[in-house]
């Protein structure tokens, strides 16, 4: 029988777990422990299966959504999650019609929205470091919904949740990351979160211009995570049979400092049935979406396509996260 729980009011604890995320900022996956992630996953799983409903657990709370960059999935899933948990939503979704267009700073925007009684701020901003800066400015928790090309921790939570749901575990997963590893914000977050699990092996598949940033490599080396790089198409094909998961990313055209660099790499890879034929039959294909032309629609109907389920998982993950950050029972 489904149970309801009372968020932030010391109500029944459906999972019997300590809420380690109450009142915390969610800025980087570096800051999250495996236990933090597993707490979110456990609650999201119960929400997904309908055994727990979190409806109205945030009644009386205000969640501010400040989105200074375009977003479809992240904004909508946070919006639906907050509303379905009973929170009031304060939103800045179109910077063109807000004071941001008049040159208002992020600092002032955060202070203003906090002054209107926000209990939590969900922020998407084009500047790297914006979420950490906002968290320093705000007294209430800040959730990073994408900080330029730096990180997107809630995407990583839903990514790893999807892997866990499909494979039963995350330890030992062999994952290929293909595409724009340099400017993608999902890649660093996913790497940092996977580094909290044992025996993970990462294959970075990208041309030199799009290879993973050095700070990500240093972090993985520090955490003892095995990784390899492939830059040529032949090397990528050789790696394919080893993979449990292939995580594909779009080339982030909007983040290239030089348009000629973008022209040099656009269309440099396409994931289609032909490429997947090099992998195992049960290889899972993931993509944070939106896609452009790097992931062929012909993959959609193959059992390998996990990406629409992955996108759907954004909702239970963000419900669970909002509930926990705002002090709900674990």
């Amino acid at each position: 029988m489904p149970s309801s729980i009372s968020g932030g009011r010391g109500g029944e604890s459906p999972l019997g777990l300590k809420n380690t995320l109450a009142g915390r900022d969610i800025i980087s996956c570096r800051d999250l422990s495996r236990e933090d992630a597993e707490l979110v996953f456990s609650l999201a799983e119960e929400v997904n299966s309908g055994t727990i409903h979190l409806e109205d657990t945030l009644a009386g709370k205000k969640v501010a959504l400040i989105f200074v960059e375009p977003s479809t999935r992240t904004f909508q899933s946070f919006y639906v999650a907050a509303r379905s948990l009973g929170a009031e939503v304060l939103s800045i979704h179109d910077p063109a019609v807000s004071s941001i267009a008049k040159g208002e700073t992020l600092y002032d925007t955060v202070k203003m929205i906090e002054g209107y009684g926000a209990d939590c701020i969900v922020l998407r901003h084009p500047a790297r470091g914006s979420a950490r800066f906002a968290a320093e400015a705000a007294a209430v928790p800040v959730i990073n919904a994408g900080s330029g090309s730096q990180e997107h921790p809630t995407q990583a939570l839903l990514d790893v949740f999807t892997i866990k749901s499909r494979l039963g575990q995350v330890d030992g997963v062999k994952i290929g990351m293909l595409g724009d590893l340099r400017y993608s914000r999902t890649i660093p977050s996913l790497c940092y979160l996977l580094a909290k699990y044992n025996g993970v092996k990462i294959f970075f598949m990208a041309p030199p211009l799009l290879q993973v940033r050095r700070e990500v490599e240093l972090y993985l080396a520090e955490k003892g995570v095995t990784y390899r790089k492939a830059v040529e198409a032949d090397e990528i094909k050789e790696m394919m049979p080893e993979l449990d998961v292939l995580y594909v990313t779009r080339i982030q055209k909007e983040r290239f400092p030089d348009p000629t660099e973008y022209e040099r790499v656009r269309g440099s890879y396409v994931v289609d049935a032909k490429l997947l034929a090099y992998g195992r039959r049960d290889l899972g294909v993931m993509h944070p979406l939106p896609r452009v032309d790097e992931l062929s629609p012909e993959v959609d109907k193959l059992p390998n396509a996990w990406y629409f389920e992955q996108a759907r998982n954004g909702l239970p993950i963000r419900k669970a996260l909002l509930h926990l950050v705002l002090g709900g029972a674990g």
Partner: protein
């Protein structure tokens, strides 16, 4: 008589920053707390460029008359210019100082990542770095971008 003493007399109180690579004294000035220097009307700054040196061939020297470099300043100077020697002078007596390495640096250095929040116009975000000496880099605490220690002079503020 050394080339230095021909050019400028000794000081009785203050700091002498010696063995600065030739023509790099401007970097030293940028790394010091200029506001603190300016606020003290008794402070004089004497800069010597390209004087002969047994150790370096040619070197710069900065003499800060009536100014004692702080430990924080000394640490950053030693990080960016590892050859530098720092001498405190009190009543003509010279005391050599060997600073440790800083764990953090606040301000002074512009983040090399143009999209970092600390580079956004009018945002009151002061750059802050963690020193990762073992990797030869500093890391921006806001945006995680790494900057090689030898490239720090290219990003000094001011």
């Amino acid at each position: 008589m050394s080339g230095e003493s021909l050019l400028v007399r000794k000081i009785d109180w203050g700091t002498v920053l010696d063995h600065i690579p030739a023509w790099k004294a401007d970097q030293v000035i940028k790394l010091l707390n200029l506001e603190s220097l300016k606020q003290n009307p008794d402070v004089s700054v004497i800069v010597l460029h390209n004087v002969p040196s047994k150790k370096l061939g040619r070197k710069d020297i900065v003499k800060l008359y009536h100014y004692m470099v702080s430990e924080d300043e000394a640490e950053i100077l030693a990080l960016v210019l590892p050859q530098i020697t720092i001498n405190y002078i009190r009543d003509w007596k010279v005391e050599k100082h060997s600073p440790g390495l800083p764990e953090k640096i606040v301000g002074k250095i512009r983040c090399p990542e143009t999209t970092c929040i600390t580079n956004v116009e009018r945002e009151p975000a002061t750059p802050r770095y963690i020193v990762m000496k073992e990797h030869g880099v500093i890391a921006c605490e806001y945006c995680d971008t790494l900057l090689e220690i030898e490239r720090i002079p290219d990003f000094l503020v001011g």
